[in-house]
């Protein structure tokens, strides 16, 4: 059994959690002071996922802010960043536009702002 140490982010308490992991699942959680801490650790030890936010350079040279439409695997963030930095949208971009479909498993790259006029 592997033992993982985490800090709970559900509230400002920031409980120091310990989770025992077996076959990719939490078999126990210690250190939490509420049920939310237990759930946080159970999700976090399986496969931590994060939404990536960044900005990309449009063809006209200006920057446009972007995000992944769904969380991506934490372990793959730097790989996904390389793909994001190769995206250079052309023409006017609107908030919500998909700039690159399927940039990661189950996630598109989406504009989070309109092109400045």
């Amino acid at each position: 059994m592997e033992i993982k140490h985490l800090t709970c982010i559900e509230c400002p308490m920031g409980c120091a959690l310990e989770a025992g992991v077996e076959d990719g699942r939490a078999v126990y959680v210690k250190g939490n002071s509420c049920p939310r801490g237990k759930m946080y650790a159970e999700n976090e030890v399986v496969c931590p996922m994060r939404v990536i936010t960044s900005s990309v350079r449009a063809a006209d040279g200006r920057m446009i802010s972007v995000k992944t439409s769904a969380p991506v695997k934490k372990s793959e963030m730097l790989e996904v960043m390389k793909k994001i930095n190769a995206v250079h949208p052309e023409g006017r971009v609107r908030l919500g536009d998909v700039l690159a479909a399927g940039i990661a498993d189950g996630a598109d790259l989406v504009a989070t702002d309109d092109s400045p006029l």
């Binding site: 800090t7 982010i9 509230c11 920031g14 960044s54 900005s55 920057m63 802010s65 400045p116």
Partner: protein
């Protein structure tokens, strides 16, 4: 040129936009927003990370997404906004003088003014950090603007002083863009940033956070080449012999925000030492009748959601003021007591209607404590807290029917033992 507007809002960031929308929805029609930058949205435009709007919209928006929602609401109401326009002066009788390239200098006589100028970052100069003065030293917000809006990475090896949220966000942002963040140093024994930022911006990337540490020397002639970091004692004095050296080409300062109140001061409006913002009544009116303040120019908030909420209070009150709603005051002081560093509002007008939400910060980390508001020996509001920390603003609701029970001043304090 002289013109007249019912309500003039100084600043088109999250506070100014929310105040404008609420003033309109409360019946005001003649509203003018004055914004220094070319675009509405304020600092949100460069805060491309997510986590905004969780309280207000129950979803995690990026800064630009949050800003555009309010900008659209302003446009839908045809509220007038002048961008690239800098306000030069404000008088107590609500004359606002501004300048832009199209109109030159002009003065607006306003029925009401809403101060929504936000804040700026504390700089290296304010801290007196010893060492040379090479290139490569930035405030975290400046680095954020370079990376997110200009597409330039300001350095490759970074040490960050201060664990404020912008510094933490930039640690992650620069790491994702290929920089190596060597350390984040915090002079206090706790971080002033949100817990989720410590975990998702530092722990996720194995970036060390040194609490009780500060930069005691910056090295380099043309460009930063390294820093010396020392541990500090209980009086924040560096402890000799604890020096660590980090090679780096960039130093970011994330050491606090200062409300930008030059205009407020020039109008002779008294400021509060605890917040560095104007002293206000619960409707966010300052000591100058018809001049209101909201958002980070009034008190530095943790979340933009709370800025919007506060701006709506000011917007509503300004609309009431211009429609002739100002009544006689019955004022009481609202002050900080034990374990509390400031309280806002600083004054309560007992003649105003509605509940009063008290905002305050505590002086340290307290577990299983009680925050309470007391007046004339009577407790008017209180609630238990499992934890209270300086980095997260506390609130307490004073119900409307309790206002008349205030005798003398209202004191807000924190009791370390749970109160029944």
């Amino acid at each position: 040129m002289k013109t007249e507007n019912a309500i003039v809002i100084i600043g088109g960031g999250p506070a100014g936009l929310a105040a404008a929308v609420q003033a309109y929805d409360s019946g005001a029609r003649d509203i003018l927003i004055l914004e220094r930058e070319p675009r509405l949205g304020g600092i949100l435009n460069q805060c491309i990370h997510n986590g905004f709007g969780l309280t207000r919209f129950k979803e995690s928006l990026t800064g630009p997404e949050y800003a555009r929602r309010f900008e659209r609401a302003v446009r839908e109401r045809n509220i007038r906004a002048m961008t690239d326009t800098t306000v030069l002066s404000l008088t107590r009788d609500r004359q606002v003088t501004a300048v832009n390239a199209a109109e030159g200098a002009f003065t607006v006589r306003a029925g009401a003014v809403i101060l929504a100028m936000g804040c700026r970052e504390r700089s290296r100069g304010a801290l007196n950090v010893p060492g040379t003065r090479p290139a490569g030293i930035y405030s975290a917000g400046t680095a954020q603007k370079y990376v997110n809006l200009k597409g330039y990475l300001p350095g490759k090896e970074v040490v960050i002083l201060g664990s404020g949220d912008i510094g933490l966000i930039m640690a992650r942002r620069m790491t994702l863009e290929g920089a190596k963040v060597r350390a984040v140093c915090e002079i206090m024994p706790y971080s002033s940033g949100l817990k989720r930022n410590i975990v998702q911006c530092l722990d996720d990337f194995g970036i060390p956070l040194y609490l009780n540490h500060t930069i005691t020397k910056i090295e380099g002639e043309k460009r930063v080449t390294g820093v010396v970091v020392s541990e500090v004692d209980g009086n924040k004095r560096p402890i000799p012999g604890t020096e660590m050296h980090f090679d780096c080409d960039t130093v970011l300062f994330s050491v606090g925000l200062i409300p930008e109140n030059e205009l407020t001061k020039s109008a002779g409006i008294p400021l509060c030492a605890g917040t560095r913002g104007a002293a206000v009544y619960q409707n966010r009116e300052t000591e100058a009748p018809g001049i209101f303040a909201c958002g980070n120019v009034l008190q530095v908030h943790d979340l933009v959601d709370f800025v919007s909420e506060e701006a709506e209070i000011a917007g509503r009150a300004a609309a009431e003021f211009v429609s002739g709603g100002a009544g006689e005051r019955d004022a009481a002081d609202c002050v900080n007591g034990k374990n509390v560093s400031y309280v806002l509002p600083q004054k309560i007008d007992k003649n105003l209607r509605g509940d009063v939400k008290l905002f305050f910060r505590v002086t340290g980390t307290f577990r299983n404590c009680t925050v309470l508001a007391e007046s004339g020996g009577k407790i008017l509001a209180g609630r238990k807290r499992r934890i209270a920390v300086p980095g997260e603003m506390e609130t307490l609701l004073l119900p409307a029917e309790k206002l008349k029970e205030i005798e003398g001043e209202l004191v807000v304090r924190l009791e370390e033992e749970s109160w029944k």
